[in-house]
């Protein structure tokens, strides 16, 4: 079980920030928080510069860590991978070393180990898309450290949007798909997954995925159709990250909703009604 997050939020110093393949990677030093687990996330807000001319961002933003490393002086260095899609991620991406960032967390639950997910599991299949490669990178490192075999499939729109791969995955044992065929497999990462599952014994598979909703839903369907246990790290608009606002609702399979921040962000594929949360029909 993930350790408890420090109560409240804290100011952490940003120590690095650089562009990487269409995304931004930045690091900060968290002296107070526990070691984060794969799948967990933080609520972040750049200090002093949060809130733009538009009056947004106002709420902190949920961001998964892409790597952590123990700091010699205590605490952890946390690396984040940012896709600048709006005012919040733009402010986070604009932070420069020396600036400070409000940090709360780590929040949320973690991925199960393959044997927890599927007692027959031979190893893990990790399927990441776009910015969703961040939690996959953390999970993979954890599996490597524990000597659990894993294969990684990553998908991107194009080469220009494939930041973090070299940095967080290295080159080995990672298969890439690019929608525009600019490199690797031309097409969706789910094509790679299907190939892989064809050759495989489905009964020994355990799939983990994080990426855009449409990709996650495709992965989910593929696995459910084949009765393969799958865990997905989902996204949803979040105001608080610690269960206070009930805003991060994701429809459950049997009806009703789970609070993604505390009941997720990692969910089992059969636990939810859809990975296309906002597009769900009713409640």
């Amino acid at each position: 079980m993930a350790a408890e997050a420090p109560f409240g939020r804290r100011l952490c110093e940003v120590t690095a920030s650089r562009a990487d393949g269409g995304y931004r990677v930045f690091s900060l030093i968290d002296r107070e928080g526990p070691q984060p687990e794969p799948g967990q996330f933080y609520m972040l807000a750049s200090a002093g510069s949060w809130a733009g001319e538009s009056g947004r961002p106002y709420l902190p933003r949920a961001i998964s860590h892409a790597r952590y490393d123990r700091e010699p002086a205590g605490g952890y260095r946390l690396d984040f991978l940012i896709d600048e899609v709006g005012p919040g991620t733009m402010k986070l991406a604009a932070m420069m070393p020396g600036q400070t960032c409000w940090v709360a967390g780590p929040f949320g639950g973690q991925f199960s180990y393959p044997r927890e997910l599927n007692p027959q599991a031979a190893g893990a299949i990790l399927v990441g898309g776009g910015i969703g490669i961040a939690p996959m990178a953390v999970l993979r490192r954890e599996l490597v450290e524990r000597g659990i075999p894993s294969r990684t499939l990553l998908g991107f729109r194009d080469r220009a949007h494939s930041g973090g791969v070299g940095e967080f995955f290295g080159c080995e044992e990672t298969r890439l798909a690019f929608e525009d065929g600019s490199s690797g497999h031309k097409g969706y990462v789910t094509d790679l997954l299907l190939q892989l599952l064809e050759g495989d014994d489905s009964a020994t598979a355990a799939v983990y995925s994080c990426g855009p909703p449409a990709m996650l839903e495709a992965v989910r369907r593929i696995c459910l159709d084949r009765a393969i246990p799958v865990e997905l790290a989902l996204e949803s608009p979040m105001a608080c990250g610690y269960g206070a606002c009930f805003g991060c609702a994701v429809p459950k399979a049997g009806g009703g909703y789970l609070r993604l921040c505390i009941d997720g962000p990692v969910v089992r594929g059969d636990e939810i009604a859809t990975a296309l949360a906002g597009e769900s029909d009713d409640g």
């Binding site: 109560f7 009056g55 106002y58 608009p237 105001a239 991060c248 429809p251 409640g283």
Partner: protein, 312 residues
């Protein structure tokens, strides 16, 4: 600048419930059970509020509204949560057991769409020793019933008249801001026997999906909260406080001690922190810690001195 008032100078009360300080939480903006799971026992030891207000509970379990439930706005947010919850039984049998262990007084918020259900809710909740007061949510913009009662002084008065005989515990009416004259509804609440009003609930608001050009919120529309609504809340608190004798629990965009104190000066007895909890889980503590300096900056030696101010 006066000397910094001591922590004791923040002591106060609401409806006879003694409080170490004036900082409550807004109903539905802090889930103690979830927070304890996330932060551990330190949450109880360093509890950020002087009194805890539960999320609004309803007769039957409710799933809440379909996603999306949140939309960020300039200096605020819209929510359409839709009162998800375990229903009365679930609340009393499970949640309340845990809430009873809090060291601060407990106010339970309830909502129903008819007087009969309100009666059941109030009787059952009031019978619990752990409960110090009951807040009647007649104002949630997401559930049809609330709007109607809370918009009408006479309906509000009638509801209170029906509930007042059921308990000696404080009954607090949560007012909606979405009326022309909130003081008239407050006067109805007072006439019906309410012990206090709390205000403001969220302001009706809407947002449009940037991709689909359809309503963003699953429920179509929702309620605005946060600093954006603070000036609206202050005007309403001031107008209501001039019209009634019972105390006001003031809220709406409070982010720090300074904005909390503005509500006290506008006529609130105590205040509640809502949306700011989402930005900072310890926002309540931050308000409390800032109050002595904020009071001193305006020349007050204690909270009571600020509470005694009456604006023209």
């Amino acid at each position: 600048m006066a000397d910094l008032p001591a922590r004791e100078a923040l002591a106060t009360e609401i409806c006879g419930i003694p409080l170490d300080g004036p900082v409550l939480n807004g109903s539905g903006t802090f889930d103690v059970l979830a927070a304890r799971q996330v932060f551990g026992d330190v949450l109880i030891d360093e509890f950020p509020f002087d009194c805890y207000v539960s999320k609004t509970i309803t007769m039957n379990p409710r799933p809440g509204n379909p996603p999306y439930r949140l939309w960020e706005t300039p200096s605020g947010m819209i929510n359409s949560i839709g009162l998800p919850g375990p229903g009365l039984d679930g609340f009393v049998n499970r949640d309340l057991r845990l809430l009873a262990s809090l060291e601060v007084p407990l106010i339970v918020s309830v909502m129903a769409d008819c007087i009969e259900d309100f009666v059941v809710l109030v009787e059952r909740v009031a019978a619990e020793d752990a409960v110090d007061g009951i807040e009647l949510n007649v104002s949630c913009p997401n559930v049809h019933s609330g709007l109607i009662v809370g918009e009408q002084p006479a309906e509000t008065e009638a509801l209170l008249k029906a509930l007042r005989p059921l308990t000696a515990k404080p009954l607090i009416v949560k007012l909606t801001p979405n009326v022309a004259n909130p003081h008239e509804v407050a006067m109805g609440a007072e006439a019906g026997g309410a012990d206090a009003v709390s205000m403001i609930n969220t302001v009706k608001a809407a947002a449009i999906d940037p991709q689909t050009s359809r309503p963003w919120l699953g429920a179509g529309a929702g309620g605005l909260s946060g600093p954006a609504v603070r000036p609206i809340a202050l005007a309403q608190v001031r107008a209501v406080s001039a019209a009634i004798e019972i105390p006001i629990i003031g809220m709406g965009g409070i982010t720090d001690a300074e904005s909390a104190l503005e509500f006290i000066l506008a006529g609130a007895r105590v205040i509640a922190v809502g949306t700011e909890n989402f930005r900072d889980p310890k926002a309540g503590t931050a308000v409390t810690e800032g109050l002595p300096a904020a009071l001193a900056r305006r020349g007050f030696g204690s909270l009571a001195e600020a509470q005694a101010v009456t604006l023209a």
